[in-house]
Symmetry: D2
Subunit: 346 residues, 4 copies
């Protein structure tokens, strides 16, 4: 733990994404031992109480959060794996104290008020919040690498949103997609996406041997997708489904094209857009990614199949919702923010 190393703190390491991030930060060669902070101002207890597999491992002490503690430990960067309401509350103060922030919640991802409406934020200081809404950088490094480098506040993308935006950003910008014919995203996620808190929806007996759609025309990630892919609200249908697996997302995306194309043209568009991006893997035409391929990695995999008429495109993208869909992407953002290789620590 040399003085030259960076000091991070994580608020909310007890949730699935926060804990995944805790494990990543502990192995990152540029980082000092990170601080794990409890949202509640209660007595300290180890993360072992939430993750019994840590039994006997003393690397995960959980301390009650306070700004004083953060200051005394010399925290440089703060990760928020907190509910979005809490992120809205903590971020202004953290910025005022000079911390750089990666927020894993949905609190700061949206530029347009119409899209933020679904969250119903109640900010103490609406003026400050409005300013931060605009200065926050959407933390998808493959799209916003340069702004992330200098950002004080990085809004880490949603898991579904990442799986959809990665292929759409490249294809929509190419001009080949006739968005007026509708962009349909049929997305399927493993159960860890629903969080660690037990509910009827996450009960094993109701989830195993089952499959279901939910939040049709009403999921919170819709706004991110619209903004980042550059679509109008009535051009997008986004349908989440719950898969009976612990983790992993597969999105099947249906696009009508502006003119008949060849598979090589599509592959070319994707490869050019993501040429220098290590964490996006483009598959050859007809080779489709599966959920297992990217599990426990930070990859977003993208494959496609073109209709025989060359005018309709089915894209399949996969990622691990706790990695590229949350903690892995947060680490990738950290790497960009501090000028390290995007592969550092993986």
């Amino acid at each position: 733990m040399s003085a030259a190393k960076l000091q991070a703190a994580v608020i909310g390491a007890t949730g699935y994404a926060g804990f995944e991030l805790a494990k990543l930060l502990l192995r990152h060669p540029q980082m000092a031992t990170p601080l794990f902070l409890a949202r509640e101002q209660t007595a300290a207890h180890p993360l072992e109480d939430f993750y019994p597999e840590l039994a006997g491992d003393t690397s995960y002490p959980l301390e009650p959060f306070s700004w004083e503690l953060a200051k005394s430990r010399g925290v440089d960067v703060l990760f928020l794996a907190t509910p979005h309401e809490l992120s809205r509350e903590l971020v202004p103060e953290a910025l005022a104290r000079g911390l750089r922030i990666v927020d894993l919640s949905g609190a700061w991802r949206l530029k347009e008020a119409a899209n933020r409406a679904v969250y119903g934020f109640e900010d103490k200081d609406a003026v400050v919040a409005a300013k931060l809404d605009q200065s926050a950088v959407y933390g998808l490094p493959e799209l916003h690498r340069n702004q992330i480098r200098d950002a004080a506040l990085v809004a880490n993308p949603g898991c579904y949103a990442t799986s959809v935006i990665v292929p759409l950003a490249a294809l929509v910008r190419s001009g080949l997609v006739d968005t007026t014919r509708g962009v349909i995203c049929d997305c399927k996620s493993g159960v860890s996406g629903a969080g660690k808190k037990p509910t009827q929806k996450t009960h094993f007996v109701e989830t195993a041997d089952n499959f279901s759609a939910y939040s049709v025309f009403g999921h919170r990630h819709t706004g991110e997708i619209l903004e980042q892919a550059g679509l109008h609200a009535d051009e997008l249908i986004f349908t989440p489904h719950l898969l009976p697996i612990p983790r992993g997302i597969l999105s099947t995306i249906y696009l009508g094209l502006t003119r008949p194309v060849t598979p090589d043209e599509i592959e070319g568009v994707l490869r050019e857009f993501y040429g220098d991006a290590y964490w996006v893997r483009i598959f050859k035409h007809g080779k489709l990614p599966q959920v297992q391929y990217s599990l426990r990695t930070n990859y977003c995999d993208v494959g496609f199949q073109l209709a025989p008429d060359g005018k309709r495109l089915v894209v399949v993208s996969c990622l691990d919702n706790l990695m590229k869909g949350a903690a892995g992407q947060a680490l990738q953002n950290l790497n960009v923010m501090f000028g390290w290789s995007e592969r550092e620590g993986f």
Copy 2:
């Protein structure tokens, strides 16, 4: 087993669909003890060799198939749970011998040569086969009840096809669907749909914790859907996916409408079309079926969610691929063919 009961035989009771049918036929009050016939002309052996849970149960003797045996036992109706090539071969002879047939394979489902091409049938007598292609009745009772009643040859629908055709038949015929904007069917099936023969694809380690799309723009059920829903080939996209569950199908169907409608209008169209159909359940707007709801039943469940603009419709349909998607529908067809209640035997 009174003389008045009907005598059925099943060829191919060792597969998942054939075995499910065997169990149903044994409990059907109008049926004599059915005959289970092995495709191979080898020595008799019990179904227990394939389904060890039958240990000690003598109700499932498996006898080598021959036309003589079928005749000597007075078989009235023949169920084929055989590969489609074998169904093409057996059916002409079976009809010539006066048997009525329910074929669970894809052999006789298609009216149009273009759609049959994917199967590559090689018929001994092409003239006879061509005639049967036209006289065979597509065995979806909710659509073709009257023809099934008198049919000699009923072509039991595919599992995916049933889940898609049930909602589409009603909605497309209503005139509310703008099919030129494309009909997208994102379908997900449990592993029993891939058959009992072990392959890499059905290996537990490669299927559990996984999810994948396959046969995009190339699945055999495409032709059935086109013919029965009344679509042109370039109007339909049908994408099958493999779910890590033993059985069950959920299809998410995306439709553009010809004009803005209300939820009540959609519900009305579905309810009117299926008013008298016991085995199709229409859900209220916003209540979507899940795979578990229809498991081990013969129901096809249909729900929907309308976009706020009233012009885009997401339909979700579910069924058990071995029941309404195969054996259950075969039994329902039997009931229609012999004038019994469609619920008989369930």
Copy 3:
């Protein structure tokens, strides 16, 4: 629903066992439409609120419980699928009102005070309770058929307990088991055994891809096993484990024998003991039951493998924890209590 039919009521039909029982009672030919009663004295609501697959099915109205309601509807038999504390409270009153009862909880299964201690019952009237403790009949029909026939209060056995007692009762009574060498029951159950209420333990992410032992030397079913199998406390080890499947139990039981025996001798002991018992299936030597074989049936399957030295015996028993382990056995008890075939209604 002729007047001659029997009227049942179920308190607690919202839990997994209670709901399974509700479905069975609705199909039982000797039963009038059963009453489903809510423990809470709140407004009526349908079971559909707890089991959405019932959407649109009006057979499952859930009414707030009161003795007046039970009386006015002419209830003959009361099923309690309630927490054991509530069963202790309701049973004395129900008996006083002349109802016959099948209690699915652990409230009335134990004869010995030492075994009841683990439950820590606090009875309003300890004298009455003590009397009922002795008059209650342990509802394992294969062991206590005659007493169940005339019983006012039948204590339906625990799921683990049934899977262990069925083989042990026969083998221990044969005198072939050297119980002083220890009887080891390594038991594995699906997640529905943990109840419908969501907890961290039943969260999909913590249960799928996992397996664990729990309550070693401390599970409540221990007392039942001791009493019914006729063992001393220090002769039994019973270790429950949680399987990542929705339902089903497999128990592996290890026994030392008093002398070397042959497989035929063991099979003979089991077959003689269970000669007339339809719901117990004895497997041939070396053919072991699996969880799938008895799923969704009322069977308890028993197989075994004898060591080459003939002195050590491994017994494997399987059942569906919601059927022979709960609701199915309750229905079987009903059949015995009212003189019907034990297979009635299955």
Copy 4:
């Protein structure tokens, strides 16, 4: 890849254990890029043909095996992830050529002819084979660290065997276990233990929602357990079961003690025996390991619960069958053989 790095080759990298090892070797800092060799003398093809998640990754070329190729590449150490018959055939030649070997099969694990009988080896040169049987070192580093350091041939232990031997070696040697009362090992493994080749047993539909015992009194790992734990054949019962999970083993072990002990005494025995062993984790009394805790790690976790009478002990051990049960342990053996930290490369 400096010249100072060690060159390894893996024969059989297409199986689950061999592929896991391939991934580990590629990340090991002391190793040159390893060679992956196909058993079959056919044309080269990439491992991507067997593991499509490698699509586009060129790190896994699969070359046809020949001794000449191994020599020309300067192979120092050879890993065999081959069927045991092939290991019996290859090892004598490999040793003659001066290679050091870690064999993951069961070919060289057994010292006693009676225990080898179950494999039925047919050796070309029985004299040489007999000599190697005695000189091979059983590759459980926690037991045989010193011999492994200098061994030419290391026989990597079986997965079940490791989970059982780790706790038994310490406890039996302590003299606290009354082995004459019988040592019962009730073991449960995920499906990858059954290999990558698809069979009826590994078919998703027959494995999911199921659980079963198999090979009772007949599993090949029995001999290893007897030899390494120091038990007589009639003292051990080892019962394997198949869990519906991809990977992981949990073994529940039942032991009678020679005198009443305290939990601290048991914990002390285990901690003393494994004091310096990083990859064995001893849990506090009553804290039992679960399969998830050690998944994708090289840990063998050991916990226990003592009966109230202090005379009967239930031990629970867990490991990942592809890591500490196969490839991870092979890497640990490599580390010991070449004098590196046992944690190197993990």
